[in-house]
């Protein structure tokens, strides 16, 4: 599984190695400026959208962007760990859907039985997180025990999650939960709403975990070369389990964020979101071959994606163009990265 990723990653190694002493420091320096480029792109976008329609530059619009960003950011954060470990998690979109739907049923029952909104919501959060965690553990089981490659393992759970959501809901949204849920998605701290604030906190914690903790170092080591990681005594299976459990857990919470945004559990809520998460991680500078990635890059990548989607609506571009523009962005960002790493030019 992750072995494959490591082997194909090796050719990139000597170049980064040239930057001398610490590999980690080298990565840090190279990606350090990738972040700057992304920030410039984000600012350019805001300037461009504002110059076409001045209404873009408002707390209301930024608030909406952050509401749309919150669930994608959550799964992109989980995906960063997975991608750095040399894997991929395709199941996060449908995990969001499934956990949102299951939480919706639980909250419907709780609220129907007279449970106060706050408690009902809390039960919903725990349920959604639990469902996500279970899906993550199933992924880990399929990868570690059944020896499936992550792509196949998570493709299977993607289908199962999406299908189960349709089975449970029979195709329609599940409402009847706490009526105050939707008001939580109203921005109150500038453009930030409760889910937004929650996601920012999660990002800070996850960033510290990825870049400052022993667990984070293990994840980079496994993604870089899982043979070497095993050789130095890292239990690869344990770390892989943690990585996919974390990704599942965050997707579960993402499902709850979607519930709060929609006010109901929708069987199509998370469809296709996994691709946005992967795109965000890749735009952020992570390498799908593992061992390279930054949390700050992921955050900027996800912000760029949600900003462009909103911006196109506000400047009234035909919606059919949306996917094309996002695709061009991904290609441009990755090309940029390769150019900057010097792999694309001999000069």
């Amino acid at each position: 599984m992750t072995d494959n990723g490591a082997t194909s990653a090796t050719p990139t190694r000597p170049r980064t190695g040239r930057i001398a002493s610490g590999l980690a420091r080298g990565i840090f320096r190279v990606l350090g400026s990738q972040q700057f480029v992304l920030l410039v792109v984000l600012v350019l976008m805001v300037v461009m959208f504002t110059s076409i329609n001045s209404k873009f530059f408002s707390v209301g619009v930024f608030g909406n962007i952050l509401v749309n960003w919150a669930p994608i950011a959550l799964i992109a954060v989980g995906q960063t760990f997975v991608v750095v470990s040399g894997g991929i998690d395709l199941s996060v979109g449908s995990t969001m859907t499934l956990s949102g739907v299951v939480a919706a049923f639980v909250m419907q029952t709780a609220t129907g039985g007279g449970t106060p909104d706050a408690l009902s919501l809390l039960v919903g959060v725990v349920t959604a997180a639990g469902v996500g965690l279970v899906v993550g553990l199933v992924n880990a089981l399929l990868i570690n025990q059944a020896r499936l490659v992550p792509f196949i393992a998570t493709l299977a759970t993607l289908g199962a999650g999406a299908g189960l959501s349709l089975v449970l809901t029979k195709g329609g949204p599940i409402a009847g939960g706490p009526s105050s849920a939707i008001s939580l998605s109203v921005p109150w701290l500038g453009p930030l709403s409760w889910p937004g604030i929650f996601v920012v906190i999660i990002i800070v914690i996850a960033g510290l975990f990825l870049h400052k903790s022993r667990f984070g170092r293990y994840v980079f080591a496994i993604g870089g070369n899982s043979f070497a990681a095993t050789a130095v005594g890292i239990s690869v299976k344990t770390q892989i389990t943690k990585v996919y459990a974390l990704s599942g857990l965050l997707a579960g919470l993402g499902g709850m964020v979607l519930y709060i945004t929609l006010g109901s559990g929708s069987p199509s809520a998370g469809a296709g979101q996994e691709l946005l998460a992967i795109a965000a991680v890749v735009i952020g500078g992570a390498s799908l071959t593992g061992g390279i990635g930054r949390m700050s890059g992921t955050v900027l990548g996800s912000l760029i994606l949600t900003t462009v989607t909103s911006g196109l609506i506000i400047i009234n571009i035909d919606p059919n163009w949306n996917q094309v523009v996002v695709a061009v962005l991904i290609a441009a960002a990755v090309t940029l990265q390769i150019l900057r790493r010097g792999q694309g030019s001999k000069a």
Binding site: V67, S266, I317
Partner: protein, 336 residues
């Protein structure tokens, strides 16, 4: 190249890309910046659906005639509240003067409508509606229940219905909750109960407005119900999926297919006998009326003469329909 040169080159190429994007958008949204014109926002379900394309053309024509700006948005391909709500929120954040909305779910879109009305933006519902129409300026739709009944009539006629026989049919829907789907199915069921007691609805399925999913559903039904006599495809995408499945299995004309919505491709299939009949709506007229009523509501307030509820008739198109009528009701797909 050293690293900083590479960074500069990369940045420059990206700026070019971004600027290119802004240039192409200018041509599309050139006049959205002017201040004196009214800004009408129109949010639909799946904007690439020919039904909504026809609605867009109608709305654009009316907006041009009345001299107002029109923002027409919606997820390109997915008919779902999950994709629609972010679009509605973003459109409302630009504080338009009026909002025409095709709600993809009667519950999920209610808060957005309430918020718009609370901030003084009149809302018209088109095609489908939210649950609480109290604050909605007008609800413009086709007579879906009547359309469902007409579909039952057309299907019964095509199957040579007689009391005492067995007539198994299936219904392909897009969603369990879209109000148009529900109304058509109710009308269809009621007509069967009243007039065709021996028609049995063997199965119903959902396609989420995806013709490929609709096609798979019909393929499976054809396998599961070998004696299937008829299919009611409740909207255009379901009719697409069902007709392709019938043709692939060589059952075109042998299993009666009554569809909804006059997509050009499907109208052509009436001639070749694949589709028995189509129930057509008038989305372009719905779009026009929505814009007209919004402008009236904004300019004249409560005193404007606006019908609170408009129901446009549905028409049955079949082999006996004149060429002129077929052309009139076929959904326009491009302006001119």
């Amino acid at each position: 190249m050293n690293k900083s040169q590479r960074t500069i080159t990369a940045l420059a190429s990206l700026s070019v890309a971004v600027l290119g994007l802004s240039a192409c958008s200018n041509s599309d949204a050139g006049d959205s910046g002017s201040d004196e014109k009214l800004n009408i926002a129109f949010v639909v379900g799946a904007s690439a659906d020919p039904f909504f394309l026809a609605m867009k053309l109608g709305a654009e024509e009316e907006a041009k005639a009345l001299g107002v700006n029109l923002t027409f948005q919606g997820d390109a391909t997915t008919y779902s509240p999950a994709t629609q709500i972010p679009v509605v929120n973003q459109v409302l954040a630009t504080s338009p003067d009026g909002l025409a909305l095709v709600p993809t779910d009667p519950d999920a879109l209610q808060p957005a409508v309430d918020r718009a009305v609370a901030s003084g933006i009149p809302v018209v519902n088109v095609d489908t509606s939210v649950n609480d129409l109290k604050d909605v300026t007008s609800f413009i739709t086709g007579d879906n229940a009547d359309g469902g009944a007409k579909a039952a009539d057309a299907l019964a006629a095509a199957m040579d219905y007689e009391d005492g026989g067995t007539f198994q049919v299936v219904v392909g829907l897009s969603s369990a909750t879209s109000t148009t789907n529900v109304a058509r199915l109710d009308g269809f069921k009621k007509q069967i109960a009243d007039k065709y007691p021996d028609i049995e609805i063997a199965a119903t399925g959902y396609s989420q407005s995806n013709p490929a999913t609709a096609n798979t559903n019909v393929n499976n039904w054809l396998t599961a119900y070998p004696d299937l006599k008829g299919i009611f495809a409740i909207d255009g995408t379901n009719a697409d999926g069902a007709s392709s499945a019938l043709r692939a299995k060589g059952l075109a004309g042998r299993v009666a297919l009554v569809g909804y919505d006059a997509y050009k491709t499907n109208v052509d299939l009436i001639g070749s006998g694949v589709i028995t009949a189509l129930i057509a709506q008038d989305p372009a007229e719905e779009g026009k009326l929505a814009v007209r009523y919004l402008v009236k509501a904004i300019k004249d307030g409560d005193k404007a003469d606006i019908e609170k509820s408009v129901t446009l008739p549905n028409i049955t198109l079949d082999k006996s329909t004149s060429a002129a009528d077929l052309e009139k009701y076929t959904y326009v797909q491009s302006a001119n």
